[in-house]
Amino acid sequence: MQILSKKLAVSSTAVLALVLSACGGGGTPSSPPDRSAEGPETAETLTIAIASDEGTLTPFTNQTGYPGNNLVKMIFDPLAIVQGDEVIGLLAEEIQTEDNQTFTLPLRSGVTWHDGQEFTADDVVFSVDFYRENAEGDSAIDVSAIEEVSADGNTVTMVLDAPDPEFPRMILADMAIIPRHLWEGVTKVSEAGTELAVGTGPYMLAKYDNARGYTLEANTDYALGEPKVDTLEIAIIPEESTQFAALRTGEIDMSTRIVPPQQLEALQEQQDIGIVEGTEYASTLLLFNNGQPPFDQPEVRLALTKAIDTQDLVDTALLSSGTPGSPGFIHPKSAMAAGNTAPMYDVAAANAELDALGAEPGPDDVRVLDGEPMSYELLVQSTSTDRLRSAELIREMLSEVGVEVKVTSMDSDSLDAKVWPDYDVAQGRNYDMSMWGWSAPVMLSSGLIAQLLYSEPAEGPLNVAGYSDPDTDKALDALTSEATLDGRIDAAADLQANIAEQAPWVTLYYRNGAYAYRSDTYGGWTWQDGKSALHSFSFVDYDL
């Protein structure tokens, strides 16, 4: 058996290491944790502001991926953890595999749950079985790929239904292990109370008030490293402006709200406030409804894509705090980003292609295609400043090629109901064009990327654009069936070329992450691409 050592040697090449980083679930880095913050190394108490209640902080009750899932993972350890470009064992001492299908996981000894009970292999087997039965919850993990799980002494073996080189990052580093002795009687996971928020992680949930927030106390018995902050007060402050005001006064020490580009400079200039920033991997898209004319024609989508200056959107809407979107969707910093990712902006080409399609200028300079004026509604979330600005800019850009856009802003739920009713693409969609976004995990997992594009709803449950193309389906089959990382790199390159040709949507930009903190109270904030700075590496010096 090939033993990947205490640290999972992802590959002998740096490229392969980067590929894993690009394929993790729950947000993953592509570079070592970046110690980019300044300030004291330790602190007694830190107050961190979050925007809304995150439930009882169990894997089944947190409400958001960020920051909810990040907080859950500070209480519940997974079997592995992503450190820099590597997936290394956490509760598992090492990760062993020779075919990416059977994984053997010897567990660490001497680990205890927060209530003092011993952590055992039985807890891991129970966790997998429990997740299999309970798919509800933001941090609940899809373990359907695990065909068998068994324990032999202190070692757990997992056998997958097919080889998956991304398994350590997507599942092992993302599955919060739960204690059998507390969870085995639980039937309604959405009602799990704080008494079940007991993990093996570096912080213990000491207090919860759903209007005010949480108190997390350092786990002084933590065997895997020493927490550097004794107490974390997590305060719920819904308003972004109030969070930044409280940061200025020193009432809080860190805001989990991304600093808007227009406020970045003012905050940076203030004494005792630092900014930790980096790549988020979240994407902002312009969706076309591929299921209705004329967006069912790839030529039309491609022509409109060429009319949009993504660099201008970044410069104007994000004040340069972002990266223009790649025509192949994948973030250019990702190791899976292939070949030419330069934007396709070319107004002359867009006009020529629309002319070639027979879209003749009509009344008010709006083109007419197949007897219908090229006039469309563009939906945008009213709460997102950068998307509102982008939508207005897109309206101007498309008017340059004779396409009229009517921008309609609405609340997120109303927009979701039109684009993705009940989160079920089989129900269809009711829009022409829409501003949209996917969070970091979608960008970083080849499995989730495939779900954006597969024609059939069963395989493509995230295909909100209603895109359908047999060639793309084949490219996706090739990507997801590859048993090796090298194979996935090649397959990902083919897929991106296909996306660029078909333009099911326009990838507009990837916004940078920037978070503000008090540099006079704590400087341990560590940036991880795709995970921001709120994660256990910011609070623990791991000894793995």
Binding site: S52, D53, G55, T56, T61, Q63, G65, A135, E136, G137, D138, A140, D142, K188, S190, E191, A192, G193, D209, N210, A211, R212, E233, A235, I236, I237, P238, E239, S241, T242, A245, A246, R248, T249, E251, D411, D413, S414, D416, A417, W420, D422, Y423, D424, V425, P441, V442, L448, Q451, P461, L462
Partner: protein
């Protein structure tokens, strides 16, 4: 027929009239309550989206099969036919078992019981201040108007009344919280938990915001009412009889002038929970307004219904109190049986 018999018949008739009035009013309230409860049930379900989003990330929900979706909806009560849900809702109102929040698994009654005292403290304090200041300025404004003065105060009141609560709250935070650091910017308590100084300090900015934005309304209403009474015939006659101005105002003007203000304040108290949504959200104040806001954002049907119910009951209750107390301060209502 003796005078005694006439008096007895008159008393009986008055009592009968009083009972008829009370029963009529009671029926009105029951009808209003039923309509309000029906709306409370329908409004959450008329909003786009639904509580499914509480059961996982969008990516995870997208993977659910139709059977799994149906199972979740049935298990948590939002998958039943609408009429079944409605009767279940009415049952829960009658038994005061408002169910469990879909967001965090708490009993809805517990969530409301935790939040309500903070709202009562916040809005109660601001209503007292708003009423005192608003009435005082309104009375002075009315009297000064008679002397051809007070235009500046009126313009000031109109300006204040038109200030958006959100905007003023942010100004309060920037000036008094960040710039001068006179008061905390968020929350209801300090790091030491619930202490009197901590609670009072955290009350300053939200109360000031609610009070300032509420004064203009009461001022203008009181001023207008004062002007109406001051120009009425009885007051003009009293003035002509040479009654001193101070006595005239105290005995003949204030009481009738403040009658409509009394009703207005009662309604204000009824709307106190709703009125604090913006302020509680901006200042992260853990009251009923923020609970309602969170419930709406999460499409948490049981919690929405619970908070709407409290709001409804408050409005109905304060209307009832206004009805019952009106005759105490207006003798005409006592004589006529209706206000």
């Amino acid at each position: 027929m003796s005078a005694l018999q006439v008096t007895a018949q008159g008393t009986t008739g008055a009592l009968r009239g009083r009972w008829t009035f009370l029963v009529g009013r009671l029926l009105e309230y029951v009808t209003v309550l039923f309509v309000a409860l029906t709306l409370n049930f329908l409004l959450p379900r008329a909003l786009p989206g639904g509580p499914l989003k509480l059961f996982g990330s969008p990516e995870a929900l997208a993977r659910l099969t139709a059977e799994e979706r149906a199972q979740i909806a049935t298990e948590y009560g939002f998958g039943d036919p609408l009429h079944v849900q409605f009767f279940e809702y009415l049952r829960s109102v009658v038994t005061l078992d408002l169910g469990t929040s879909l967001s965090d698994g708490r009993e809805v009654t517990d969530a409301i019981a935790d939040a309500l005292p903070w709202t009562l403290l916040l809005v109660g304090t601001s209503i007292i201040l708003t009423t005192l200041i608003g009435i005082m300025l309104g009375v002075l404004g009315g009297l000064r108007r008679r002397e051809g003065k007070g235009t500046g105060t009126l313009i000031g009141a109109i300006v204040i009344d038109s200030i958006p609560q959100f905007w003023l709250a942010m100004l309060m935070i920037v000036w008094f919280g960040v710039k001068w650091q006179l008061a905390p910017t968020f929350g209801a308590t300090g790091p030491d938990g619930v202490t009197v100084p901590g609670v009072l300090q955290h009350l300053v900015l939200p109360v000031a915001t609610l009070t300032i934005t509420g004064i203009g309304y009461i001022f203008m209403y009181t001023r207008s009412s004062m002007l109406g009474v001051l120009t009425s015939e009885p007051v003009q006659h009293a003035h002509a009889r040479g009654i001193p101005r101070g006595r005239l105002v105290r005995r003949h003007v204030l009481r009738p002038a403040l009658l409509p203000v009394h009703t207005l304040i009662m309604l204000d108290i009824g709307f106190l929970a709703a009125g604090a949504i913006v302020v509680e959200t901006v200042f992260a104040y853990p009251g009923l307004g923020r609970l309602t806001f969170g419930a709406i954002a999460a499409r948490d049907y049981p919690l929405m219904q619970g908070t709407f119910l409290v709001l409804t009951l408050m409005v109905v209750l304060m209307n009832l109190v206004a009805d019952l107390t009106y005759p105490l301060i207006d003798p005409r209502a006592r004589a006529g049986g209706a206000s």
